[in-house]
């Protein structure tokens, strides 16, 4: 395709236009504000679909047609540079889709509506920024700025313990990202010494390709491999976001306290930023170190899978259960990444997308239920049941819930199955033991979901539950795209697999060079 397109700029800045419009509207026109946000997010989604249609799946790497490049700070060779490839495209589409649904599910928010939607659209724009940036500095700026709206969205509109959750989330992520910052600046200064780059640069593509394998650095008189040292730094930065096992403790708090729409964005999109960071930055820039640490990543991924599932099983709060199931499912993504094979990587990226849709469904469903019951206990702290017999009371809701649950469990025919199968195909070639234990994790996954379902949906209808009304039209409307997505991509995943195949293959072959 010839010519040039500013489509990425439009997608990135469209939500910011929305922020401006919302800010200019008077505070009491809540309906207008809601519709503005909705229309804005729908336009953004439409633009991302246009992007998908125009995307050429056969070109490896960044697509020239969509590239945007403007100099920003010439002294540091920092550019405003955007691009899209097969790995970021599914994430961009996922983000814009989920944001439409989140605006719809935030319809019932009544506290400071104007500020809420302004912050929400701001958040959306920063997330796009992370997925589009080709300049490390720009990436970092978006990565950090994203925390500010998130902090307020959790802190103001969250549950009872919202402040603690917001602060913990903020500090944790900030801690990880400053380590990444050191790595980023260090890379900038060593890049000029590299003959194949020749100048100080933050350009992710120029830095990629394993150009820093021979460097070493000196700390307290000890020589350490530059690549390994900063791979670990960046690993911590991204791992906190994913979250990988020892760094996961912020997640249950943030997810449980956040309002529904924000939980959806958090689980559906923000967690993927961590794994996206591996795919875009850590792996391409330090391929040798990635291969070196692959075993460790695989084991951490495995801990995530099993530990997350066991934690989920122990929860009595349904939202916390879903939150821990995210830990477990992101573990599969880590396993797929650690495999560094074509199937594993493809599976990982597909799982990023599929987990985005299935977990978003789960969180939305929990949110719908919460709006009726105002609690989330499967079993209350005093030992009595929180829900019972929902199946008889809420038939439509139950059917949607079953679809979401099976999708997240990885039942064949639904989306989760394909990505998990690919991941297992990939990982089995390298780590047999881990595969076997991870399969066990899958089993626990099925167990806690079914057990939760049994406790909530079957049995006697509790008196409390008799007043609950079934899903209304708005709720069915915003659930339906996700239902379609999990079913369609469960049977026919090619629309996503095809666009990412070439880009992922590129990365795998780069890693293979160092294997």
């Amino acid at each position: 395709m010839n010519g040039h397109s500013n489509l990425l700029n439009w997608i990135l800045w469209m939500p910011m236009i929305g922020v401006l419009v919302v800010l200019l509207l008077p505070r009491n026109k809540e309906g207008v504000i809601r519709y503005t946000a909705l229309i804005n997010s729908i336009i953004t989604f439409a633009l991302s679909i246009v992007l998908y249609m125009k995307f050429d799946p056969t070109t490896p790497g960044m697509q020239e047609y969509f590239k945007v490049l403007h100099p920003w700070i010439s002294q540091f060779n920092i550019n405003y540079s955007l691009g899209v490839d097969g790995i970021s495209l599914p994430m961009i589409v996922l983000t814009s889709l989920l944001c439409v649904l989140c605006v719809l599910c935030s319809w019932t928010i009544s506290k400071s509506v104007k500020a809420y939607f302004a912050l929400f659209l701001f958040l959306q724009s920063t997330v796009f920024g992370v997925f589009m940036s080709l300049d490390f500095f720009l990436f970092y700026v978006y990565w950090e700025v994203m925390l500010i709206p998130m902090f307020f969205l959790i802190g103001i509109w969250g549950g009872e313990n919202r402040e603690y959750a917001a602060v913990k989330f903020f500090l944790y992520t900030f801690f990880g990202s400053v380590l990444m910052l050191v790595g980023m600046v260090a890379l900038y200064f060593v890049s000029a010494d590299n003959p194949s780059i020749g100048q100080n640069t933050f350009d992710i593509l120029a830095l990629s390709g394993g150009k820093f394998t021979d460097l070493s650095l000196r700390i307290f008189g000890v020589d350490i491999s530059f690549a390994k040292f900063f791979f670990v730094m960046m690993f911590i930065g991204f791992a906190i976001k994913v979250p990988v096992f020892p760094f996961h403790t912020w997640l249950p708090h943030a997810h449980v306290q956040a309002p529904t729409a924000i939980s959806v964005i958090l689980a559906g999109v923000l967690l993927k930023m961590g794994t996206y960071g591996f795919l875009r930055i850590a792996f391409p820039i330090f391929p040798q170190a990635s291969v070196y640490f692959a075993d460790a990543i695989a084991w951490l991924g495995l801990i995530n899978v099993v530990y997350g599932a066991l934690c989920a099983m122990a929860q009595t709060d349904v939202k916390k259960l879903i939150a821990y199931s995210s830990v477990s499912h992101m573990g599969f993504v880590m396993l797929g990444l650690a495999a560094m094979t074509v199937q594993g990587m493809n599976g990982a990226v597909l799982q990023m997308f599929n987990h985005g849709t299935s977990t978003a469904m789960m969180f939305l469903l929990v949110g719908i239920l919460y709006e009726r019951s105002h609690h989330r206990w499967i079993v209350r702290p005093d030992g009595t049941k929180g829900y019972g017999g929902l199946y008889t009371q809420l038939p439509k809701y139950s059917i949607v819930f079953i679809i979401a649950m099976f999708a997240s469990m990885g039942l064949p025919g639904l989306s989760g199955f394909i990505s998990e199968a690919l991941i297992f195909l990939g990982i089995y070639q390298k780590y047999t033991t881990i595969t076997v234990i991870a399969l066990l994790g899958l089993l626990i996954g099925a167990a806690y979901l079914l057990w939760m379902f049994k406790r909530m949906f079957f049995g006697e209808v509790l008196d409390d539950c008799k007043s609950y009304t079934d899903m209304n039209a708005r709720e069915i409307f915003y659930m339906s795209p996700l239902i379609i997505a999990v079913i369609v991509f469960g049977i026919y995943p090619s629309p996503i697999l095809d666009v990412m195949k070439v880009s992922v293959g590129n990365l795998v072959s780069l890693l293979a060079k160092f294997n």
Partner: protein, 489 residues
């Protein structure tokens, strides 16, 4: 090339002007009646005069660097830019003192006069090019500061602050003088240029003997910057002094101290060798400690003023890291940091001051629910707090990024890590204010008198650079790039 006396004076106009302003202000003050509270002409004269000095300095920025008064002072873009920052800081503090209730009405004009005096000391220090000028600069700066610290005459804490400040100050300048006299004894000259020439001829053993005197020399400077281990006076002085004085102390003496530290480091330790290694090693440890101690002490504070004071110690530590690298990038990053720090500190102290005036204390809880009453002020404060912690896309981040860049360009990986981890710690206590302002419910809806239209607009104007310099910092980078240190012809 050293200019002759008459020519020297032409480059010395800003300092002379400041002296004229100071004396003029004393006269104007004397013309007012004792009971007169407002003194409009006094402030008009002060701001007009200082603006004039600022413009004068700005015009000086493009002129070539030169030595004046037979080489005892250097006028280079670096010193000029530092002086501009000091003038701005002084103006900011004087305006705050005019509005603040923390300072007695009848002492407000005295504050302005003394502040200009301290500023003159700082200006001398920023240009000092021989040991004597360093000493004169530091003493001018200090003696007036002792008086400022004990400004709340009726309060014990303030007198204590003044006493402590002068005792510590006296001891540290004594130590510094001792170190200087030793240096003079070895080289037979107080001129920096002669000392550098002498340094090159010394053997390693001789240098090792000389090093303690440099460390003693450093004590005097370190005391002004309040870096560990010379920071003991800082908390009490910051706490005991009235808020405008604290604001002033956390800007002007710090900028002056950093300017001279940078100049001394660049001139004496610019060449590689044993001396440089030791000096850099000492400075690395001191800067890392300063940062960490400042930050860790800030966490537990209940008073916002104390928190800001401690955090200013840690910011000084951060700026010192730019000295460690001894290169252009370091100089430029310190200047950038100082510019952004000036605006951030002013906004933070302004807001704190007006809130404290309302309630009589500045505990964190006083900020609760500020966003419901004064949304604009709460947003500005939030911006500044995030910026102080180093969140992009605000200027505080860019400043930190520059320091990090300087550190990593010289491969100081450990220092860089310490610096960023410290910013995580600082985020914790800055966020405490944000959390209270935005997430908590409001205590009372009574209006805060300080937040009039005028003051709100001033705070808004001061916040604009914090936002703008985070996104468009190319221009400022060019400015600071030009402002390199003149090491002699």
């Amino acid at each position: 090339m050293a200019l002759n006396y008459l020519a020297s004076i032409s480059r010395y106009v800003p300092e002379l002007l400041s002296v004229v302003i100071m004396v003029g202000l004393i006269f104007i003050e004397a013309c007012y009646d004792r009971e007169e509270k407002k003194k409009p002409f006094f402030y008009l004269a002060a701001f007009f005069g200082l603006t004039f000095v600022f413009v004068n300095l700005a015009a000086d920025l493009s002129k070539p660097a030169t030595m004046i008064f037979t080489g005892s002072m250097t006028i280079d873009p670096f010193s000029t830019l530092s002086k501009m920052l000091m003038v701005l800081g002084t103006m900011g503090a004087i305006y705050l003192s005019k509005e603040s209730k923390d300072i007695y009405d009848n002492l407000k004009s005295e504050f302005a006069i003394m502040a200009v005096g301290v500023m003159i000391g700082g200006m001398i220090l920023a240009s000092a090019n021989n040991l004597l000028m360093v000493y004169i600069g530091i003493e001018t700066l200090s003696i007036l500061s002792y008086a400022l610290a004990s400004f709340k005459k009726n309060e014990e804490r303030s007198s204590e602050a003044g006493l402590k400040y002068s005792l510590y100050g006296g001891i540290s300048s004594g130590i510094m003088l001792f170190g200087m006299s030793h240096i003079f004894g070895v080289f037979g000259s107080i001129q920096f240029a002669d000392i550098i020439a002498g340094l090159n001829g010394l053997s390693t053993a001789q240098l090792a003997v000389l090093l303690p005197s440099f460390i003693m020399f450093f004590a005097g400077i370190g005391y002004k910057i309040a870096c560990v281990p010379f920071h003991m006076w800082a908390p009490d002085v910051y706490e005991g002094s009235p808020l405008p004085v604290t604001t002033f102390f956390s800007i002007v003496p710090k900028v002056a101290g950093l300017a001279i530290l940078l100049r001394v480091t660049m001139t004496f330790f610019g060449q590689e060798g044993a001396l440089q290694v030791t000096w850099v090693g000492a400075l690395s440890v001191i800067s890392a400690l300063t940062m960490t101690v400042g930050n860790v002490s800030a966490i537990g504070q209940r008073s916002v003023k104390r928190m800001l004071a401690y955090s200013s110690i840690s910011h000084a530590g951060m700026m010192m890291m730019g000295v460690v690298v001894i290169n252009e990038l370091g100089t430029r990053s310190i200047l950038f940091y100082a510019i952004t720090y000036l605006f951030m500190t002013l906004v933070a102290f302004y807001v704190t001051s007006f809130v404290a005036d309302k309630y009589g204390n500045d505990h964190f809880e006083r900020f609760s629910g500020l966003i419901k009453r004064y949304p604009l002020m709460a947003i500005m404060m939030t911006v500044v707090m995030f910026s102080l912690a180093g969140m992009p896309p605000l200027s505080g981040f860019v400043a930190k990024f520059n320091i990090l860049g300087a550190l990593l360009s010289e491969k100081h990986y450990m220092l860089a890590l310490i610096a960023v981890l410290n910013s995580v710690v600082s985020l914790y206590y800055y966020m405490k204010i944000i959390r209270l302002m935005v997430l908590k419910d409001v205590e009372s809806m009574e209006p805060i008198i300080g937040f009039g239209v005028m003051n709100q607009s001033i705070i808004l104007v001061l916040t604009v650079p914090v936002l703008a310099l985070g996104l468009f910092w190319s221009g400022i980078m060019r400015l600071t790039e030009g402002a390199s240190i003149f090491l002699g012809p």
